[in-house]
Amino acid sequence: MKYFWIQLLLIAGSVSMALMFIRTWGQAKNRAWKRIAFSVFVVVNVYAVLRPTDVTWVAHQLGVGRGTDLVLYVMVLAMGFLTLNTFLRFRSLEKKLTDLARTVALAEGARHNDARLGGTPAVVAAVKVEVEVEPKPEPAETDSASASTSASASDSVKA
């Protein structure tokens, strides 16, 4: 077998990738179709490594000279999809971050500006809300959490 070592290397790579994927199975929220796609990818990978002539046969059917060329073209496509997917993922994360930061900024801003510029109604309301929360802390809450709740309540009373 003159391809033995390279085949061993590639299959070891595929198998370890599959193992890593399975280990994060429960941690990441992988959609079902992603799991299926990845499983198919690994199986095809191992098959193609063991039977490179079959890939070349497929390439011939599609009018491509060699199996490796076909793999290259498919890889370019996959790369493009991956990039687009990552871009869209970042866009949606950025939007979430913006919404979160805006909400925090507006809430904090309203509180501080009322205290600093002398508007009173909103400050009173904010203190009232926090005091209402304080007397009945969730039983599941840790000591430090309830301590910080009362600390922030007393802070705003001072303000």
């Binding site: 871009f87 869209l88 866009r91 950025e94 939007k95 971050l97 913006t98 930061a101 805006r102 925090v104 900024a105 507006l106 904090e108 801003g109 309203a110 501080h112 500006n113 600093r116 510029l117």
Partner: protein, 228 residues
């Protein structure tokens, strides 16, 4: 009480500690209601803003000028009695008499949105290279053409409450200017331009957008059109 109690100036600021307090106090002589959005500045902008009588809203992280404008508008919209909303630059290049002029157009109900333009009256203050680029940007943009705008990238705008409530800036970076024009073109709001003077000081020149940034803006806008 001032005749401009119903006007809110929205000033996005990112690392403008050097000048922001002067700009805000200068503007407050005419406009009592100002909200400055500190866009996660790493300098002492927030401290300087806190010394003024302006409202301060701080982004916990830097998000970009478009995001800061949207935050400021949202804040101003929540203030009682607010009817007109002006976007104003933090670097001192805009002038309050222009804003007064623009508010008057809205008060007379001649428009829903008034945009500042550097090109309606030639005042010779705009550096020629900038003039060429900005005029090109305005004339190649289909939306700017539709509205017959001469200047699509002017940061001085005054919006009525109706317009401000509809506007939702999603482009966090500098592409928001084109996004706003695009929104206005499709909104059916009455848009008009008013000539304004821009003070190109040493400071604003140094802080202003480099022309190469125009490439980034075009890229951002293109991607937005695609991802719709």
């Amino acid at each position: 009480m001032s005749q401009y109690d119903d006007v809110w100036l929205v000033i996005p600021a990112y690392n403008e500690g050097q000048v922001i307090a002067d700009v805000v106090e200068g503007a407050r002589k005419t406009f009592p209601n100002i909200v400055v959005v500190d866009d996660g500045s790493s300098d002492n902008s927030a401290e300087h803003i806190a010394t003024t009588g302006a409202h301060l809203v701080r982004h916990p992280v830097n998000l970009g000028q478009g995001a800061a404008l949207q935050t400021g508008l949202k804040y101003a919209l929540a203030q009682p009695g607010a009817r007109y909303f002006a976007t104003f630059d933090a670097d001192g290049q805009h002038q309050t008499p222009d804003v007064e002029k623009m508010v008057q157009v809205l008060r007379d109900d001649e428009a829903d949105v008034v945009l500042g333009s550097r090109f309606i009256e030639q005042n010779g203050q705009v550096p020629w290279i900038k003039r060429v680029v900005l005029r090109t940007a305005a004339s190649v943009s289909p939306t700017a053409r539709k509205l017959k705008l001469t200047d699509s990238h002017n940061g001085l705008r005054v919006l009525s409450r109706k317009a401000a409530e509809q506007l939702n800036i999603t482009m966090n970076g500098m592409a928001h200017a084109s996004e706003i024009v695009g929104f206005l073109a499709g909104s059916g709001l009455r848009v008009t331009e008013v000539p304004v003077d821009i003070l190109y000081t040493e400071y604003s020149r140094a802080k202003g957008q480099s022309l190469i940034n125009g490439v980034n803006i075009i890229f951002d806008i293109t991607m937005r059109e695609r991802s719709r």
